[in-house]
């Protein structure tokens, strides 16, 4: 079986083939790994990497968000991954100066718009705060995903917003 895995904006083709009980041949972008894998709980994987002298690694892959979106935990660090091309909104907000095209600043959780810091037509830099949303008792500044021009301000101060609601559009 072949999967299309996206982590940190980089796409890798990964094919998995069962070699024997608990043993798999995994090819990542052409590089082959012989792996002894055991499930630990619902989301954990204990991996013994044969080619690397029996190196033992623990990785957890837990669903987060929509189908195909997972959070991968590796040595205390957490990265988002997508399986077979389903991209998260989070990933696009993360792409910084490289981001292209029209992008939206969306409410990541339900809250109340406290202040709108830009107006339609304003020029913004990447990571410039554009709107302040109060959620979980804290005021959070949402930043522009890219440098560009404010195409649309879709909310006003005082508005209650649901998670995923488009607040500001940047082009």
């Amino acid at each position: 079986m072949t999967f299309d895995i996206d982590i940190n904006g980089r796409n890798r083709m990964v094919s998995v083939e069962r070699a024997a009980a608990g043993r798999y041949r995994v090819i990542v972008d052409g590089r082959a790994h012989d792996v002894d894998a055991a499930r630990v709980g619902t989301f954990g994987l204990s991996l013994l990497l044969d080619g690397d002298g029996g190196v033992s690694r623990e990785v957890e892959v837990a669903p987060a968000g929509g189908p195909g979106e997972v959070l991968v935990r590796i040595d205390g660090r957490i990265v988002a991954a997508t399986v077979n091309g389903r991209r998260t909104g989070r990933a696009s907000a993360d792409s910084g100066p490289l981001a292209r095209g029209v992008q939206a600043v969306v409410a990541p959780m339900p809250g109340r718009v406290v202040r709108v810091l830009v107006a339609a037509g304003d020029t913004v830099t990447a990571r410039q705060p554009v709107v302040v949303v109060e959620a979980m008792k804290m005021e959070n500044e949402l930043r522009s995903p890219k440098a560009g021009r404010v195409k649309d301000v879709a909310v006003a101060a005082g508005a209650s917003v649901a998670a995923g609601r488009v607040l500001i559009v940047i082009e």
Binding site: V28, L45, L71, V79, D94, V114, R143
Partner: protein
């Protein structure tokens, strides 16, 4: 159930009084208090809102009562409902924890009027020290230096134009603070006149929504101060015992995120002087139960009274770890009239070093945006010198309604360096699946040379974060990123084969299918 007021007075008041304690809180602090009560053999009563029905504190308490909808204002802040739950449960005492009603003098009074013992200071001391401006006056009366600032609270009727000359007198840079403030809310730094009005507006709006009181005051901002605080206990017989200081200078936007004890910047001599000043302030208000006096310590070793917190603090475990004490048990013992039986020398002598990291359901890679959601897996760190004060469990959905702290991870070591290394080890072990947490950020912090060397003050973290400009705390090496891809694909493969095998179950089960299924589900 009998009304608490109608209960007969126990003939032996000291040890038999309050057989049952209601905890007017939730999350990790409710669990912490339940642990203390269970060790003392005291039954506990939890209260919960709609979204907390399956919360950990509900399961760990002996009794639990629903007190309303998820919004705090309709549940955990409803004095009437909490008192009603206490009456239904037949509780004799109330522990408020921190946050919510913990520093609400009206709540303390209402408990007393209902015949319940409030585990905390008297309503009078609470009201006095709860006002930042009145607390400053108490410090001045005790001969303790305060940070220069406006002596008078400034309510909405005071215009920006009237405040501007006061700001000049205090001197820039200054901090606009909420009189009823706490936890960094309603607090803004101002560098010059041009940004004063905006800061006043934000501070008032935040203070109004967080505390129901938009009154503010101004305070000079010291240059690179450390935040040092003294935990103290006072009993109802006039004894005040101050403890080893806590160092809380690692703050993000005025919110403490890492606390330690002792402070690398405090010598035994300075410790005695700060502790003495803290005890003097507490004595002027006849303080009883647990409280903390916060100071700013500047580069010259001068310290200034900042404020007093009239409650148990989030970071109390680091004090417990270096003084081998249980502050929550002491709160309960003091409230039932016992005398403090702590050697003051021992309370001021740190044994080893302790560090606490506040683990929040926040995404450090998205500007620490709250990241509520379903916790799919949880395995707290353990092993030598590790303490987990957790408040959640797997299967619980972190709600959007409250503070997003899910656990406090504390490590102890014979030296500060040992405690730091142990924290890095414990953070790496700590597994929270399904939501983002601040664990990767703390792992990064524990490797920062200035943090490891103890070279930091209250502005350190914000400066360090600004320099990073949003760079991820979970940066993987090329080979780890490849491993993460490999594991993600393998996980998807195993799930897919398990589904195929299950789908095949209805028909005649081929042996290979059974084998594939067993393997795919292998745990």
């Amino acid at each position: 159930m009998p009304e608490p007021a109608r209960r007969p007075v126990e003939p032996c008041p000291t040890l038999l009084r309050f057989m049952k304690i209601l905890i007017a809180n939730r999350g990790e602090i409710a669990v912490r208090i339940i642990r203390a009560c269970r060790e003392m053999g005291l039954p506990t009563v939890a209260v919960y809102s709609d979204c907390d029905r399956n919360a950990r504190h509900v399961r760990e308490a002996d009794q639990a009562f629903h007190i309303g909808p998820s919004e705090a204002a309709k549940s955990y802040l409803r004095i009437d409902r909490i008192l009603d739950a206490a009456a239904r449960a037949g509780a004799d005492a109330v522990h408020p924890g921190y946050g919510f009603l913990a520093e609400n003098a009206a709540f303390a009074r209402a408990c007393r009027d209902a015949g319940l013992t409030f585990i905390g200071p008297s309503p009078k001391a609470m009201a006095l020290m709860g006002s930042k401006t009145a607390a400053r006056e108490a410090a001045i009366a005790a001969g303790v230096p305060v940070v220069p600032g406006t002596e008078r609270p400034l309510d909405e009727s005071v215009s920006d134009d009237d405040i501007a000359p006061m700001a000049e007198a205090v001197g820039y840079p200054l901090v606009v603070k909420a009189v009823a403030g706490g936890g960094g809310k309603g607090m803004r730094t101002v560098d010059d006149r041009a940004s004063l009005s905006a800061a006043i507006r934000t501070a008032r709006s935040e203070a109004g929504s967080a505390f129901g009181d938009s009154t503010i005051y101004l305070e000079r901002r010291l240059v690179r101060p450390r935040h040092i605080e003294i935990q103290l206990l006072g009993d109802e017989h006039g004894t005040i015992v101050p403890f080893v200081e806590r160092e809380c200078s690692i703050q993000r936007r005025h919110q403490k995120v890492v606390e330690e004890s002792p402070s690398i910047a405090v010598s035994p001599d300075l410790r005695r002087r700060i502790a003495g000043a803290a005890a003097a302030v507490a004595r002027t208000v006849h303080y009883s139960n647990a409280g903390t006096i916060e100071f700013l310590l500047d580069e010259t070793g001068s310290f200034y009274f900042l404020e007093m917190n009239t409650r148990l603090q989030v970071e109390h475990p680091v004090t417990e770890m270096v003084t081998s004490s249980d502050l929550v048990q002491w709160q309960i013992r003091i409230a039932r009239g016992e005398k403090l039986d702590i050697d003051p020398e021992r309370a001021l002598t740190p044994h080893g070093h302790a560090i606490e990291c506040r683990i929040y359901a926040e995404d450090p890679d998205q500007g620490f945006m709250p990241s509520p959601g379903l916790i799919r897996g949880l395995r707290p760190a353990a092993g030598p010198g590790v303490r987990d004060d957790g408040g959640v469990s797997a299967g619980y959905t972190v709600p959007v309604f409250y503070d997003s702290m899910i656990a406090k991870l504390v490590t102890w070591g014979p030296s500060r360096r040992d405690a730091v290394d142990r924290m890095a080890r414990a953070l790496r072990e700590y597994q929270v699946l399904g939501i983002r947490t601040t664990i990767p950020f703390f792992l990064w912090l524990m490797r920062q040379p200035d943090y490891v060397a103890g070279r930091y003050e209250t502005t350190y973290l914000d400066r360090l974060l600004a320099e990073r400009n949003g760079q991820s705390f979970s940066e993987l090496t090329e080979s780890d990123e490849e491993l993460a891809s490999l594991a993600t694909a393998l996980d998807a493969y195993l799930r897919t084969s398990a589904r195929y095998a299950l789908a095949g179950q209805g028909s005649a089960q081929a042996p290979w299918k059974q084998a594939a299924r067993r393997e795919a589900l292998r745990e």
